[in-house]
């Protein structure tokens, strides 16, 4: 079953402080009055396929702290980033509550693997000694005996987060994970006051597929650690999930736009609003890398020529 991607239309409300008209943008939960800056949090009527948030992970990093983190991060990028980036201007700094689903399930896996068990053998070999005579010597060698193992594995998977926003993809969210889920709070509109909060804009079914893929990946890693023996290979597993649960969580993310050239789109940099982890990469300049390689080659050539001349 694929439910259509939920969509929240733009709303117009009147500011309860000054009475001015305030437009709440599509897929946002919050708005600020353009005249008196009163922060509004809007709860839209329930809509199929668009659940209400259950949890909020509140910001612990304010704008100044986030800005100084991103500035020093940019400064410390390597020498090969495209020129102009380090002198770029940070635009449109926004603290966004990103909607995401917190997934959990009971995972069941049937697995097969080849397990290597080591043993040592004493090998006799013939060689010639320093006087040219043929002698027999022994040495110990480690060998591996491979055996088949099959079994069943079951456990809970918790704490899988996947994005529910079209604006910020799952890979981008992963770049600022992990979030400390011990700080989860029950959703309450006052935690959003003064911040931008998005409504989920991806269909639940799509998020579920992403979450399952992420959980499968986690289980693959865990299964490799679960194997006995000195080594293991050919781990194959058939993973199913039951008792799946998902809950909408609003995650704190600082979004920066770095403008470095008048004719190019700015680069987006994300920061975890809880622990300050920076996600994203600055594009490297191939011209700079090429230049560096060329320089090294020329220097080497110069040395060769010099050596040739003076020898």
């Amino acid at each position: 079953m694929t439910s259509p991607a939920p969509h929240s239309p733009a709303l117009e409300i009147s500011c309860t402080t000054c009475g001015a008209r305030v437009v709440v943008e599509e897929d946002l939960r919050t708005a600020e009055c353009p005249y008196c800056a009163s922060p509004h949090v809007v709860e839209r009527p329930p809509q199929a396929g668009r659940p209400d948030p259950v949890f909020v992970l509140a910001f612990t990093l304010d704008r100044d702290a986030a800005t100084s983190i991103v500035k020093s991060w940019i400064k410390n990028r390597g020498p090969f980033v495209r020129s102009g980036l380090k002198e770029g201007v940070l635009e449109r700094t926004r603290g966004v509550y990103l909607p995401s689903y917190l997934y959990g399930a009971r995972a069941h896996a049937n697995y097969t693997a080849k397990i290597g068990e080591n043993y040592t053998v004493t090998v006799t070999y013939t060689t010639t000694d320093s006087k040219g005579r043929s002698v027999t010597r022994t040495r110990t060698e480690t060998r591996t005996e491979w055996r088949d193992l099959a079994g069943r594995y079951e456990r809970y998977v918790t704490d899988t987060l996947v994005t529910a926003s079209k604006g910020i993809g799952n890979a981008e969210l992963e770049s600022v994970e992990p979030f400390d889920l011990r700080a989860l709070r029950r959703y309450s509109p006052d935690l959003l006051a003064g911040w931008i909060a998005e409504e989920p804009s991806l269909a639940g079914e799509e998020c579920r597929r992403t979450a399952q893929a992420e959980m499968r990946e986690d289980i693959g890693v865990d299964l490799a650690a679960f194997m006995p023996g000195d080594s293991s290979t050919n781990i194959r597993s058939d993973v199913t999930f039951s008792d799946e649960v998902s809950h909408l969580v609003l995650l704190p993310v600082w979004v920066f736009a770095l403008r470095f050239s008048a004719d190019k789109d700015p680069i987006r940099i994300l920061i975890n609003g809880q622990n300050g982890q920076v996600g994203g990469r600055l594009p490297t300049s191939w011209a700079k890398i090429g230049g560096a390689i060329l320089f090294i080659l020329l220097a080497l050539a110069a040395i060769f020529v010099a050596v040739g001349l003076f020898s």
Partner: protein, 321 residues
């Protein structure tokens, strides 16, 4: 205080839990809370000056920007664990003293002969040490290497699943006792004697507090369950007699944890300027663990005796051959 049970894994939830600590499920009461019936529009206002307020990241609370009054600071619930029940002492001070004396006299030949008479008890203190007691059912998936079915290598891999029931399994949270001391004493306690309050402990008694938060406690408990499962697997499930690389994954249901304090006598005795420590269960004086000096003179004598006897035998053999 249990307020509800997780609908998925049947583990009791604790007050303030937003998610089940065992399986990560969210209690129904949180999911079904209706955020909005129709369209609702909220502007939070300061109760003092009426200004619109916003959430402040630095103080992690909702703050009024004008009169800087804090409106609401929601406490995150990760409380420090609290003791729920105490087990009373049934061994008194004299009993503990007598138990130590008789233990010193029965340590065996290689201890100093005057240990019992020359040892002076310097310190004898009651201690309530902290620990978790849990009940749970678990579907345990395991793999391990053992000697059963081994070929060229000493080891062969095995795997399996086992249903386990844990009743009243104790996990130490003690700082005062080592894990080994705590696990030596743990079979001596009768959990049914537990009382919710402590009756007038003596002045020199030490009451250990749980100095971990709930979230850390859960990590320690999960660890304890894994260890308990691994030791049962070795006894009953994994074929063979020698094991290594035991890996355990447990699917828990109905994990119920109680926080308790267990009575013990902690003693220090002096023998020839050295202090030795002994702990005795507060509920069974026969259960104790401690250190005692070894008599090197006696060991040397035995070694010398064995060598002389060997020489004598050799001499005899030479003479009569």
């Amino acid at each position: 205080m249990n307020e509800a049970t997780c609908s998925r894994c049947e583990s009791p939830l604790e007050a303030g839990d937003l998610r089940c600590a065992v399986c990560g499920n969210v209690p129904e009461r949180l999911v079904t809370q209706v955020v909005s019936e129709g369209m609702e529009q909220t502007v939070l206002r300061c109760g003092q000056c009426g200004a619109a307020t916003r959430y402040d990241a630095r103080s992690e609370s909702v703050r009024c920007p004008f009169c800087s009054g804090e409106l609401k600071s929601e406490e995150l619930t990760d409380p420090v664990e609290q003791t729920e029940a105490y087990l009373p002492f049934t061994v008194d001070r004299e009993g503990a003293r007598a138990a130590l004396r008789s233990w010193l006299g029965n340590l065996g030949f290689f201890r100093p002969s005057d240990l019992k008479s020359a040892a002076r008890i310097e310190d004898l203190r009651p201690l309530w040490w902290a620990g978790w007691v849990f009940d749970a059912q678990a579907l345990v998936s395991w793999t391990a290497d053992s000697n059963a079915g081994a070929g060229s290598s000493d080891w062969a891999p095995h795997s399996g699943q086992a249903d386990m029931v844990f009743d009243d399994v104790l996990i130490s949270a003690s700082r005062g006792l080592t894990d080994k001391e705590a696990y030596t004493l743990s079979p001596s306690y009768s959990l049914t004697t537990a009382l919710p309050e402590l009756e007038a402990p003596s002045d020199d008694a030490t009451l250990e507090a749980f100095d971990v938060q709930r979230s850390q406690a859960r990590a320690r408990i999960t660890d304890g369950i894994r260890r308990a499962a691994a030791s049962r697997l070795q006894e009953n499930h994994i074929p063979g007699s020698r094991f290594r690389n035991i890996h355990v994954r447990a699917l828990l249901t109905g994990l119920d944890t109680r926080r308790m304090a267990f009575p013990a006598w902690v003693m220090a005795y002096r023998y020839e300027h050295k202090l030795f420590r002994v702990v005795i269960s507060g509920q069974d004086a026969r259960v104790m663990m401690g250190k005692a000096p070894i008599s090197w003179a006696k060991i040397l004598m035995v070694v010398a005796g064995v060598i002389i006897a060997g020489l004598a035998l050799g001499l005899l053999a030479v003479l009569f051959s």
